[in-house]
């Protein structure tokens, strides 16, 4: 299998300057784009396996780049963002970005996110029927969830929530995405539902619900399922 191609979109030359050698060393092929127009062009012509996208671009809004790519491609997109641009980050995730990472970040974290996103792409191709995390096992064919071999009784909503998170294992799922997919389009803003059901779910699946290992909170953004492979 040839090396996966990563498109890095960032207008800061300093960022490109360290990402390129680091990603090369991690075994990826690296393409660079310094603005939105270049990014879109590269996304079409070079067919990258994954896109790393800074939201602040000189020529266009990073969210528009996400929307544009999502219109025709399911290539995983990881957002590079800053803490003070939280709302943009969430909007980009809602528009179809797969994950985000906040600046400044260590290269280890970035490569882990890249791996999770790439794995998801493979899973989408041949959907995974079985998933494990910290002693928890989800059998999506039989619709059975067990913890250390003992079957757990989940309500239908709790199960839907868990499966939705597990499908995106390793990546963040925004509140809105969870709410609209589990409760329906009319409930996109009903954050309190989510708080209650995540609490219930954690009480059943986590070893220590006060310090959750499987369903992690991404403050202000959403939740992330951390499986054994992540």
């Amino acid at each position: 299998m040839s090396a996966e191609r990563i498109l890095v979109v960032d207008d800061e030359p300093q960022i490109q300057r360290f990402l390129r050698p680091a990603l090369l060393a991690a075994g990826y092929e690296v393409m660079e784009a310094a603005n939105g127009a270049q990014a879109l062009k590269a996304a079409v012509t070079a067919a990258p396996d994954i896109v790393i996208l800074d939201l602040g671009l000189p020529d266009m809004d990073g969210k528009d780049v996400v929307a544009n790519i999502r219109a025709w491609s399911q290539v995983p997109i990881i957002i590079l963002s800053a803490r003070d641009r939280e709302s943009e980050k969430i909007a980009a995730l809602d528009l179809g970005a797969d994950d985000y990472i906040e600046k400044p970040f260590g290269i280890g974290e970035l490569t882990a996110r890249i791996r999770a996103a790439l794995r998801h792409r493979i899973q989408m191709a041949g959907s995974q029927a079985q998933l494990t995390a910290d002693g928890l096992s989800i059998d999506m064919v039989k619709r059975v969830v067990t913890r250390d071999g003992a079957a757990l009784r989940l309500t239908p909503k709790e199960y839907d929530l868990l499966v939705m998170l597990a499908h995106h294992a390793g990546r963040v799922v925004t509140h809105r995405t969870l709410l609209t997919s589990v409760w329906g389009a009319a409930h996109g803003e009903d954050l309190h539902y989510l708080r209650v059901f995540i609490g219930q779910l954690r009480a059943k699946i986590e070893r220590d619900p006060g310090n959750p290992k499987i369903v992690r909170t991404e403050p202000g953004v959403g939740y992330r399922f951390v499986g054994d492979e992540d």
């Binding site: 207008d11 800061e12 300093q14 960022i15 300057r17 360290f18 990402l19 050698p21 680091a22 090369l24 060393a25 991690a26 602040g56 000189p58 800053a82 803490r83 003070d84 600046k103 400044p104 970040f105 260590g106 290269i107 280890g108």
Partner: protein, 898 residues
């Protein structure tokens, strides 16, 4: 359905409940009502006060006149008595009730005797009942005493009964609003007995009248009035009670009186009668006057009388309205139907015989058309229409002498012209010439002139043209007839012409007033600034009323004089108090009103739809405003209030916008600082983690480059932090530039060296004049400035070299840094030295900190230099930043010379 109906009816009337709730917020007013002095009101009040005190109630004696009687004085013992206020009046010291002390003491109940009293000298209110109203408004219960004769609506009846005019009057509304009325009754015979025993105090001045007043018949009549009045109140209270408790009542359909008045002496009587009628019927009453639309102008005196009558009606509790229309009867009936009036009250005078035949009286006309409405006629008590002629004369337009002169002149001219024409042709209709004279007089000088011209013309025509010429005798009988016809025609035509003239005059006046108002509103609409609005308003008012005017606006909880005409107008303490009153109570105060009438100004609240926005004051002087002035003023004040309101709103919006702008700026600032800090940090973190985790797998040159990038970004961070610190120092004013001798060339060269190290790819050229004089300054700060400018030039300079020039221009050293980049847009040139200004995107990505130039400016100015930006610098591109410092040697030379 019937059940529903009952349901609705048995529910308490919300208005009644609301009235009850509002009563809760005010103090309670208790009036001890008596038929005459001496019935024992004060005694009754004090006895009750003692009882309340014994029960532990908080009661204070605000004012009680014991008139030196020991019985009453004994009752005062043990009660708290407020000290009185000393007032100087006509050289005598008088003791008045101290309202402010009472408000400050704030007892539960206060006792203030003699409701009808008129305050002397400098008091806030001219009347004691107004003091008491203020106490009640402040939530204090008040007990007071009143004799029935002082009630406004009864004053004419009392004057008739007792034959003594009543000077001190209390509006009926005061008694109507009282929460409790206690009748203090004493049979008249007993009262007369007490009087004889000397137990009734009467002022000296009244002693003579007392014998006439204290007669059995009088006292019995007054007693009846007092009893009836109290009974009416009890009746009202019962009706109120029934309504509040939703008891199916015996009250009938509400009666509503429409009372027609005009500018005449009878109207006052009409109003008083209507007031009694209304209270007897328990009816609402509306007092109305109809003014002719074609402006048959009434004299000022008549209008003032009308105003007075309206004021009286309001005091007696009527609603008032002035309407304009040509057909009196139609307007009245229209209003009556709209207001659902059930009865009309109107005054009527019996005309003298011939007029009675000619004119159908107004009441007759009303009666003919007012189907279903009862009409009350109030007749004049005096002899039937005694003096219409005198009234006519009294309303003669001013300057009638001039009118007669014009008439005489016109008639003389007509005579002369007639005689002249007769020399040449024989005129059959010479009388037409005289008719012309009459018309001319009427048109230019009005009705009086027209009549005068007609009379003079008849005489002159007769004298000069009718046989026998030269005498006033008339030979031919048909000529006599012709003369009379002429006279009648002349008077009629003159009347018509003068009427046209009056109408034209009225129309012109109205047009002028409308024009003035229009100009004013246009002036106002052009200004959004409160100050301009106020100035426009005071000058307009001054121009319209020809009186001094002042406008006050609220500020920090008080009202402050904002504009006045003449501009140096100052308000005294009383004026300010009156203005404050007008603002707080939303009612007129000061001269001509019931509150603080000692102020020469009258103040009125400026009411906008959002409430009171300010106070307007004008010099009232001796003559109150006339009705058309009132109207003009009301219109101006309305417009002013709205304009002030608008100015206030637009200022608020601006403030909000400024605040929003400030918040936006702050957000942009934080975002840019965090960006400037984050990018190097992200690079460093990324490079370090990459080296640690993946370093082994990287080629040698990549590792080197990563290390180099860490070094560079650390430098960038250091510079940024240093810049922030410098900026903070400038902001805090703690930049202490040293005053050393500085060699500019040295500083430039070392800064350029440093820049070459930081920005290795860039070509820097320097060109410094060889024998440049020293400057006084701080070489470290100057070095920092030049480095900042080089940093900027490097960032924006494209690929072209950056050059530094230094030369002398007269007594100044000029230093400049020039790049050949894109340059700065003309619009931005003014802002380049602003803090956190940067070109490009608002979040300022990769465009620098936005601090460099602003810091440079701060440093240069700390060294007495100037800095400026030019763009394009040369070849239509690039930016040049140049600084000028005074050459130190030149300065020294000048010092030595001086």
């Amino acid at each position: 359905m019937p059940d529903n109906d009952r349901d609705l009816k048995s529910r308490p009337d919300p208005d009644a409940l609301l009235a009850l709730a509002e009563q809760g917020r005010r103090g309670k007013l208790t009036v001890f009502l008596g038929a005459a002095p001496g019935v024992g009101k004060t005694y009754a009040m004090l006895t009750r006060a003692r009882r309340l005190k014994e029960e532990g109630g908080d009661i204070v004696i605000g004012l009680v006149e014991t008139h030196g009687r020991s019985e009453t004085a004994a009752l005062l013992e043990g009660l708290e008595v407020l000290p009185r206020r000393q007032v100087l009046h006509n050289g005598r010291t008088l003791h008045e009730f101290d309202l402010d002390a009472a408000l400050a003491r704030r007892p539960r109940v206060i006792l203030v005797d003699e409701l009808a009293h008129t305050n002397f000298g400098e008091s806030r209110h001219p009347k004691r009942y107004q003091d008491i109203e203020e106490l009640v408004d402040a939530g204090i219960d008040v007990w007071t005493a009143l004799n029935i004769q002082h009630l406004e609506s009864l004053s004419d009846v009392v004057a008739q009964i007792a034959g003594v005019p009543v000077r001190e009057r209390v509006p009926d509304t005061v008694l109507n609003r009282a929460d409790d009325v206690l009748l203090v009754d004493l049979p008249p015979a007993e009262l007369i007995e007490r009087l004889k025993e000397g137990k009734v105090y009467l002022p000296d001045s009244a002693k003579r009248a007392a014998d006439r007043f204290f007669r059995l018949g009088n006292l019995t009549a007054l007693r009846e009035l007092a009893l009836r009045r109290t009974a009416d109140r009890v009746d009202d209270q019962m009706v109120d009670y029934l309504r509040q408790n939703a008891i199916e009542g015996p009250w009938g359909a509400a009666e509503r009186l429409l009372v027609c008045i005009g500018p005449d002496s009878l109207s006052e009587k009409v109003v008083r009668t209507a007031s009694r009628l209304a209270s007897g019927l328990n009816a609402d009453w509306l007092v109305v006057s109809v003014e002719r639309a074609d402006g048959e102008a009434e004299s000022g005196a008549a209008m003032r009388q009308l105003d007075e009558t309206f004021r009286l009606a309001e005091q007696l509790g009527a609603e008032t309205r002035r309407i304009i229309g040509n057909d009196f009867v139609e307007e009245i009936l229209k209003l009556a139907r709209r207001e659902h009036a059930t009865q009309i009250v109107i005054g009527t005078r019996r005309h003298r015989f011939p007029l009675r035949l000619l004119r159908r009286s107004l009441p007759d006309a009303l009666a003919a058309q007012a189907a279903g409405i009862a009409i009350h006629l109030v007749t004049d008590g005096s002899a039937p229409a005694a003096k219409p002629a005198a009234r006519r004369r009294s309303t003669l337009p001013e300057g009638w002498g001039r009118g007669v002169a014009i008439a005489a002149g016109a008639a003389a001219a007509a005579t002369a012209l007639g005689l002249l024409i007769e020399q040449f042709v024989v005129l059959q209709n010479i009388s037409l010439l005289f008719l012309l004279a009459v018309l001319v007089s009427a048109t230019y000088a009005g009705y009086v002139a027209a009549i005068a011209a007609a009379l003079i013309s008849v005489l002159a025509y007769n004298f000069c043209f009718i046989e026998p010429v030269g005498t006033f005798t008339v030979a031919e009988p048909h000529e006599v007839f012709a003369l009379f016809v002429f006279l009648a025609a002349a008077i009629l035509a003159g009347g018509l012409a003068s009427r046209v003239r009056e109408q034209a005059k009225t129309a012109r006046r109205r047009a002028a007033a409308t024009q003035a108002l229009y100009d004013f509103s246009r002036k106002l609409s052009g200004t959004a600034n409160a100050e301009d609005v106020l100035w426009a308003a005071v000058t307009q008012i001054q121009a319209t009323l020809r009186r001094n005017a002042a406008l006050l606006l609220p500020e920090d909880g008080d009202v402050r004089l904002m504009a006045a005409w003449p501009p140096d107008t100052e308000l005294g303490l009383t004026d300010t108090m009156a203005a404050r009153w007008a603002f707080e109570k939303k009612e007129a105060a000061g001269n001509g009103t019931g509150t603080l009438p000692n102020s020469p100004f009258q103040f009125r609240p400026l009411m906008s739809p959002h409430g009171v926005v300010g106070v307007f004051g004008f010099l009232q002087g001796d003559k109150p405003l006339e009705i058309n002035e009132e109207r003009a003023l009301a219109a101006i004040l309305d417009q002013t209030a709205i304009a002030v309101d608008r100015a206030r709103l637009s200022r608020e919006i601006l403030d909000q916008a400024a605040q929003l702008e400030g918040e936006k700026f702050l957000a942009a600032l934080l975002s840019s600082i965090s960006h400037d800090l984050r990018t190097p940090l992200a690079t460093i973190t990324g490079a370090v983690t990459s080296l640690r985790q993946l370093g082994e797998r990287m080629p040698e040159e990549s590792r080197d480059d990563l290390l180099k990038s860490i070094e560079e970004e650390s430098g960038r961070l250091t510079r940024f932090v240093a810049n922030l610190l410098d900026m903070t120092r400038i902001e805090a004013g703690t930049v202490n530039a040293k005053r050393d001798w500085v060699d500019v060339a040295d500083v430039v060269h070392s800064a350029v060296e440093r820049a070459r190290k930081y920005f290795p790819g860039r070509v820097f050229e320097t060109s410094i004049a060889p024998d440049l004089p020293l400057i006084r300054g701080d070489s470290v700060l100057l070095g920092q400035v030049i480095f900042n400018l080089l940093d900027n030039a490097n960032r924006f300079g494209g690929d072209e070299p950056v050059s530094v020039y230094g030369r002398r221009e007269e007594d100044e050293i000029v230093l400049s840094v020039t790049d050949l980049g894109k340059g700065i847009a003309a619009a931005d040139l003014d802002h380049v030295f602003d803090k956190f200004f940067r070109k490009g995107k608002p979040d300022g990505r990769s465009l620098g900190t936005g601090l460099g130039l602003s810091i440079s400016k701060g440093f240069v100015e700390a060294m007495d230099g100037r800095i400026k930006a030019e763009s394009p610098a040369m070849k239509r591109r690039g930016t040049r930043i140049s600084m000028r410092f005074p050459a130190a040697e030149a300065a020294i030379v000048e010092k030595e010379r001086g």
